[in-house]
């Protein structure tokens, strides 16, 4: 019985590979775009312009305050009404990138604010331009605070990518859903789906933990 089911599941490995590929591609693209956008937003938010800073803060709050599933539905079903035609893949990328950017923005803001003002003043006194101050003084020091939660955020992003299966993208979770219609063993099928995510996410979780310990130790904090 189990053997038959395993064989049947093994038969759908091309589909599973495609699903895993879709999950990885979705996560990777939105990870890169979201990181760039998130750093940009974070730097702008701490830039001193109240209007820009307030607008970014309000947007981040909107995104943090609503379920990701609802955001996907909003993007996928409403942008076409505004005259922007887009397929499920593009909608998924936009939703994931936006989500990642908002959370990374908050992480970057916390990092930048952790840099002592004396550092900025010293950079000012040395005649560094605004951009030089950011790039050579503030960001390198902020990275110590930013890096561990940033890696943690990537794990969340990979996991959240499963929600795009709701608009019909054939990612790993969707593949599980398709296979379970044929092989009625949900425990086995979704154990394997979970295993796929675990293999991708667990090393990142370990990395985040290591970074946290290392960055804490470098800063002379006592780790418990």
């Amino acid at each position: 019985m189990i053997w038959q089911q395993l064989q049947s599941i093994a038969g759908s490995y091309p589909l599973a590979l495609r699903g895993l590929g879709m999950t990885v591609v979705l996560s990777l693209i939105s990870l890169v775009l979201g990181t760039l956008l998130g750093f940009g937003l974070g730097i702008l938010r701490t830039g001193g312009n109240r209007l820009i800073s307030g607008a970014i803060g309000a947007w981040v709050d909107l995104i943090r305050g609503t379920p990701f599933l609802v955001q996907i539905f909003l993007i996928f079903f409403i942008l076409p009404e505004l005259g922007i035609e887009l397929d499920a893949f593009t909608a998924g990328i936009i939703a994931l990138t936006n989500l990642a950017a908002c959370f990374i923005c908050e992480i970057v803001v916390a990092g930048i604010r952790s840099v002592p003002t004396g550092q900025v003043e010293a950079a000012l006194a040395s005649g560094l331009s605004r951009w030089q101050r950011m790039r050579q003084v503030v960001l390198p020091q902020a990275m110590r605070i930013v890096l561990p939660p940033l890696v943690g955020q990537y794990v969340l992003l990979i996991k959240d990518s499963s929600v795009v299966s709701a608009i019909g993208l054939t990612d790993l979770t969707r593949v599980g859903w398709l296979v379970v219609q044929r092989v009625p063993n949900g425990l086995l099928v979704f154990f394997l789906v979970g295993l796929g995510y675990f293999i991708v996410c667990y090393p990142l979780i370990m990395l985040a933990r290591r970074l946290e310990q290392r960055m804490g130790a470098a800063h002379g904090e006592v780790q418990l």
Binding site: L62, R64, G65, T66, P67, F68, L69, V70, Q71, F73, L74, F77, I78, E81, L82, G83, V155, I158, K159, D160, S161, S162, V163, S165, A166, L172, T173, G176, W177, V180, P184, N185, G186, L187, V189, F190, F191, V193, G194, Y197, F198, C201, Y202, I205, L224
Partner: protein, 223 residues
């Protein structure tokens, strides 16, 4: 453009949204209670010296944190009938949310207990307190304080996560939006309205977290 955005339809469907909101709230409350129960047990296991309890607790927490909630939800939804457990969808949903959030709650509680300086424990030992007395009178009252804001943060995550239950056809808030979107072909009206309701819950919980931080006298408490 959205020039024919119909507020009338939203008003017409308001009872449905109201029901969805109420369902989302009580599902979340029950799931959070479940998550606290799961989290306390896991945290207690994780803080033991012996490996017998610590290893399974750690494995469970890692497994939950490294896999998506949606896959966990489907695991239970398609898997439990296989074990002869035919449960209503909303029970499966509460179970999934409790088991998922429980792992995160366990980490919050553990961090709270570990944040108590060792000197406090040693002082308890020196005063001749038993393990239970030290836990109950010294450690837990102090740990309780620091865990409240992050626990409220987890409650916010849980409320948002409960939207996924719409995918196993639990009639909660997101499902109400989907119904309006498919019945009347009005996705904008449906999804913007439920987004507004979720924001209401979000700002409510966020305000509560800020208030609790002030009441508990946690300087610089952030959520």
């Amino acid at each position: 453009m959205l020039e024919n955005f119909s507020f009338r339809t939203i008003v017409e469907y308001l009872p449905l949204f109201g029901q969805g909101l109420v369902t989302t709230v009580w599902l979340s409350v029950l799931s959070f209670a479940g998550a606290l129960a799961v989290g306390i047990v896991l945290a207690a296991m994780n803080l033991q010296r012996g490996r017998l309890f610590r290893v399974p607790a750690k494995a469970y927490i890692d497994a939950v944190r490294a896999t998506p909630l949606l896959a966990q939800l489907y695991f239970l939804y398609f898997g439990l009938p296989r074990l002869g457990l035919i449960l209503p969808e909303f029970v499966v949903g509460i179970l999934a949310l409790s088991l998922n959030s429980g792992a995160y709650v366990a980490e919050i509680i553990r961090a709270g207990i570990l944040s108590i300086p060792r000197g406090q424990v040693e002082a308890g030992v020196a005063s001749g307190m038993t393990y239970v007395q030290r836990m109950r009178l010294v450690i837990l009252p102090q740990a309780f304080k620091v865990t409240i804001p992050p626990l409220l943060g987890q409650a916010i995550v849980l409320v948002k996560d409960s939207a996924l239950l719409s995918l196993i056809s639990v009639a909660e808030l997101t499902r109400a939006g989907q119904l309006l979107a498919s019945d009347r072909f009005m996705p904008a009206e449906g999804f913007i309205t439920i987004a507004a309701f979720y924001l209401l819950l979000y700002y409510g919980l966020k305000g509560l977290a800020a208030l609790s931080g002030r009441w508990l006298g946690l300087a610089g408490a952030r959520t």
